[in-house]
């Protein structure tokens, strides 16, 4: 636990904190915050501990017992035999392609909506926003048959849907971002004879990196975690991590291969927690702005 605490960014208390009188309300604050945090930390610790036990050990000892020996080879078994490795690759492809393409095309649209006044500007803005309230989960029946009639299966329809599902959030948040950029630079570039495309590509796009990265990260994380569309469009053989874990959990009910499953859960979680720990500020700002401005 101490290692978790010290590796957290900004966890060390600042020395210049105003001295406060000890009071019951302070005690209560610490008590509740610690209780909530302790629960989360313990739950995670429990999953990690079980991922390091052997299956017989897991089934026979108390759930709170520490492993007698740390069986890191569970991770290797999960990665190779339980195919977590291949699920991991599929998740990487789907999330990278989905988030990358979606942010890219949404950035183009958002730029036009934010910076070019034309007649249907607002109408397009509202049109893209409708999808914010329409969950893809409710439209899966036409989607399922549409993909079949296009002759598409597996990863391709999934990525297409991931791209489409990111559009409302991305155009919305990036439009706000482009609107906040100063227009003088762009105007100056056009005055100097740059084409409108070059003014976008060489002036505005580089300025908007922070917004693009924040949007990409939020898309990436939600796609990395996406379950429903994967359930509909993928099979056991080409599953992403969430779906692969789902089938593993079903199998574990019969085969009792629980320790692999726990290792798989940790493998799924670690990349996302690392991204979150490193880029907490960008991610939380993106989430907050996306919600508050909507």
């Amino acid at each position: 636990m101490t290692t978790t605490a010290t590796s957290m960014p900004g966890a060390t208390p600042k020395p210049s904190r105003p001295k406060r009188k000890w009071s019951w309300s302070h005690f209560f604050i610490y008590f509740v915050l610690s209780l909530v945090s302790l629960f989360t930390v313990l739950a995670f610790f429990w999953v990690i501990m079980i991922s390091l036990k052997t299956t017989p050990e897991f089934l026979t000892t108390s759930p709170w017992a520490l492993p007698e020996k740390l069986h890191f080879e569970n991770y290797l078994t999960a990665w190779k035999k339980a195919r977590i490795g291949s699920y991991f690759g599929n998740s990487m492809i789907a999330s990278f392609a989905g988030a990358g393409i979606s942010v890219m095309i949404s950035a183009l649209a958002a730029y036009v909506l934010a910076r070019v006044p034309f007649r249907f500007n607002d109408a397009f803005g509202i049109y893209f926003l409708v999808g914010y309230m329409v969950p893809l989960m409710l439209t899966f029946i036409p989607l399922y048959f549409m993909m079949q009639s296009f002759g598409m299966s597996g990863m391709i329809p999934l990525i297409l849907l991931y791209v489409a599902s990111g559009v409302p959030f991305n155009t919305f948040i990036l439009r706000g971002f482009f609107e906040s950029l100063p227009s003088e630079l762009e105007e100056a570039a056009v005055m100097d004879g740059a084409s409108p495309f070059r003014a976008f590509w060489q002036i505005m796009l580089p300025l908007s990196w922070p917004g693009l990265i924040s949007a990409f990260l939020i898309n990436f994380m939600s796609l990395w975690n996406e379950f429903f569309l994967a359930l509909i469009f993928l099979k056991k053989e080409n599953a992403t991590l969430p779906l692969g874990l789902f089938y593993m959990a079903q199998r574990a009910e019969y085969t009792a291969q629980w320790t692999d499953l726990f290792a798989g859960m940790i493998i799924t979680t670690v990349p996302i927690l690392i991204i979150f720990a490193l880029l907490q500020k960008q991610i939380t700002t993106g989430l907050t702005e996306g919600a508050l401005k909507g």
Partner: protein, 293 residues
Amino acid sequence: MYQRSRRVLVIPFLAPTFIIYTIFVFVPLALTVYYGFTNWQGHTLDRPWYGLGNFRLILLDNQVIGAFLNTFKFAIYGALIIFIPALFISWALSQSIRLKSFYKFIIIAPLVLSVIVVGLMWKLLYNPVFGPINNLLNLVGLDQFALPWLGDSRTVILAIVIATAWQQLGMWVLLISAGMNRIPSELMDAARVDGANEWQVYWKITFPLLWGILRLLFILWIILSLQVFAQIWIMVPHGGGGGAEVVATLIYTRAFASQQWGLAAALATILLILIFTASLVTNRLTKRETIEF
């Protein structure tokens, strides 16, 4: 002059997003509503017009009514469970305390976890044989509370709501904290100077100014809970024999298992309308004068 020259960008820049979004979001939305009025079943692509037939069937179907009741239960339990802890925790995190960013990180972190990890973790925590929750209850002598949480139709919804609330708490704390940061501290200081205690400052100044954000969070929660699927499907596959059947799981089984595509689409349409109206109603009911600052 330069504004006009940039208009050449409109079509090429909008086209990719417009096409993908229209094909994969908008058209399926319209088609779902249309399919809801057809008697489309089985292995054909034959979709005879059925009028309000599906909707009539839905009203007479006890399984459907049960699924709707469970969905509402999920929404209401969740809102009740998250609300007070979220307010308290975000208030606590706004005080000058040590390890603030550590606490904040831990409390928000579940938000970025996959629903499969959260679902499986809680499912295993609740497990009556090797799960630590019941184990702990037995240890401290509360044997009567060591229930098969997910196996009992009376507790299953509550158990799943708790898991979901644990994850969503992060979003609430994040947004409420952001809202509290936007309130100018002069407002609170002025009240303190006038002799208000912290309790009064919170309820008379901070809380009313947070109302807009709380309203938003309630709407987000309603949208999330009316379509809740993954949590249920992961923790109690196939709705746990009806105890945890919600509308979304019912749509899924009516579509893929019984191949009643028309009926499933009609259910999806009802859920869509519910989501829209629930958001509007929440918005209206909780409307107070918006305070600009």
